[in-house]
Amino acid sequence: MFSTPSYADETKFPLNEPINYLIPFSAGGESDLFARLQQPYLEKELGQKVIVNYKIGADGALAWSDLVNNPATGHYTAGINLPHIILQPLQRKNAGYKTEQLKPVMIFHVTPCVLAVRADSPYKTLDDLIKAAKEKPGSVIIGGCGNGTSGHIASVMFNKQSGLNLPYIPFPGTADLPIALLGNHVTAIMAFTSGYSQYAKEMRVLAIASEERDPNIDAPTFKELGYNIVEGSFRGLAVPPDTPDSVVDKLYQACAKANADPAFKAKVSTMGMTLLDMNPAQSREFINKKIEDYKILLKDLSK
C-alpha cells in the first residue's frame, strides 16, 4: 500500500509536513543524544520541523520493522545501528525487516570498542592480561553490552585471534559495564570510547578497536598490538526502501552539513564519538562488507 512511489515526491522534498526521526533506543542514550544535537541543524537545512520520537523494544527491531513499512516520502527516517541491523535478521527467525530494506542515508559516527580494566588491576598491558589468562584459565572474565553487539563481536574476535577462551558475560546496557568492572564482578570490560571520560581515573584502557588512536585516551590500538580488531557501534540514518535517491541525497546533505560544523564537532568529540562522513553509496557498501564479515563470525557468536 505504501510502497508505490509517487513521482511527484522525487522533485518535491520536503513536503509541508514535519520529518519524523525515529530513535530505536531509549531517550538519553547515545542515539538519542546525537539526534538531539542534529535536530536544530537538520531543521535549518531542510526547512521543516524535525520530530524526534522513540520506538523502543527488541534491541531496535521494532523501530526498524516499523520504518520499512512507512511511506517512502523521506519524511519517515530512523536511526540505524550496526551491527544490530545486520545481525538481527541473520539471527532471528523473523526480525520484521531485512537489512537490505533499510536504505542508508548516511553513517555519521562511530564509537570504537575499548578493552578496559580497573585502575588497580595487575594487568598493565594487553599482554599481561593474555599471559594471566593462559596461565590460570578462569581468572579473566570479560563483560560486555548484550549479545550480537559490537562489544560481543570484538570479544569473540579477540578470543579467536589470541587463541583464548575467555568467558563473555553480557550486561543489559552500557551503563551496567562500569558497575560490573568497578564492583569487581568481571576482570575486564569491552566498552566504548563514549562514556569513558568520567571513569578516566578508575579505569585503564588496554586497547582500542579503532584504526587510529583516540586523542583523549592513552592506549594503543588492537592493530598496533597485532590483532586485527576494528569494531565499534556505527550509527547512521535510514529511510524506507523505496525512497527516491534524490530525497535520500537531500537528507544526506543536511546531515553532512551538521557533521562539518565546528561547534557540532566539538560537542560530539567530548562525548567520545568519532564522526564519519559516508554518503549513501558508501554507507551501503560498508554495510554489505560488514554483512560478509559477520556471516563468518555468526557461529562463534551463538556459543
Binding site: 500500500m1 505504501f2 508505490t4 519524523n20 520530530i51 524526534v52 520520537n53 511511506p71 527467525k93 549479545n147 551463538s302
Partner: protein
Amino acid sequence: MNSRFNIDTLGGLSILAIVAFFFLQLGDDFTPFGLFFPERILPILTLLGALILAKGLLRSSGNLKGVFQINKTMVISMVTGAAWALLLVPVGFILASFLSMFFLLMIYIPKGERTLKRALTNGVGSLICVLFFYYVFVQFLGVTLPDGSLFMD
C-alpha cells in the same frame, strides 16, 4: 450442584493452561542462555497449578456461583473495548475512539431516555474529547497517535 467445579479447580486448570501455552513454544532454536530460566520456572509452575487443582478437588472452597456475574452492558463494554484496541492502528485514533466512545455513551443511557438531543450532545462531547487528546499528545507530548493506514494515499 456438586462443588467439584469451583474456583480452585478452575484456577488450577487455568495455570496448567498457561504452562502449556509457554511449554509448546519452547523451541529448539533457543540459545542455552535463553532456555535456562524457563526450564527451571515451568516445572515449579506446573506443580503449583496441580496443587491448586488438587486442593479444589479435595476441599471445595469458593463456589463458582457468585463469580463471573456478567450482565449485558458489561459484555457490550468488553466487546467494544476489544474492537477499539484492535481497530486503533488500522482505522486511526480519532475515528476508532470517537465511534467507541459515542457507542458506549449511548449504550449506557437507559432505553427509554435515548433521545436525539442526548445523542447529539454525546456525539459532540466525545468528538471534542478525542480531538483534545489527539491535539495534546501529538503537538505537545511527542506521541504520534496512529492516523489510520486505511485512509492514506
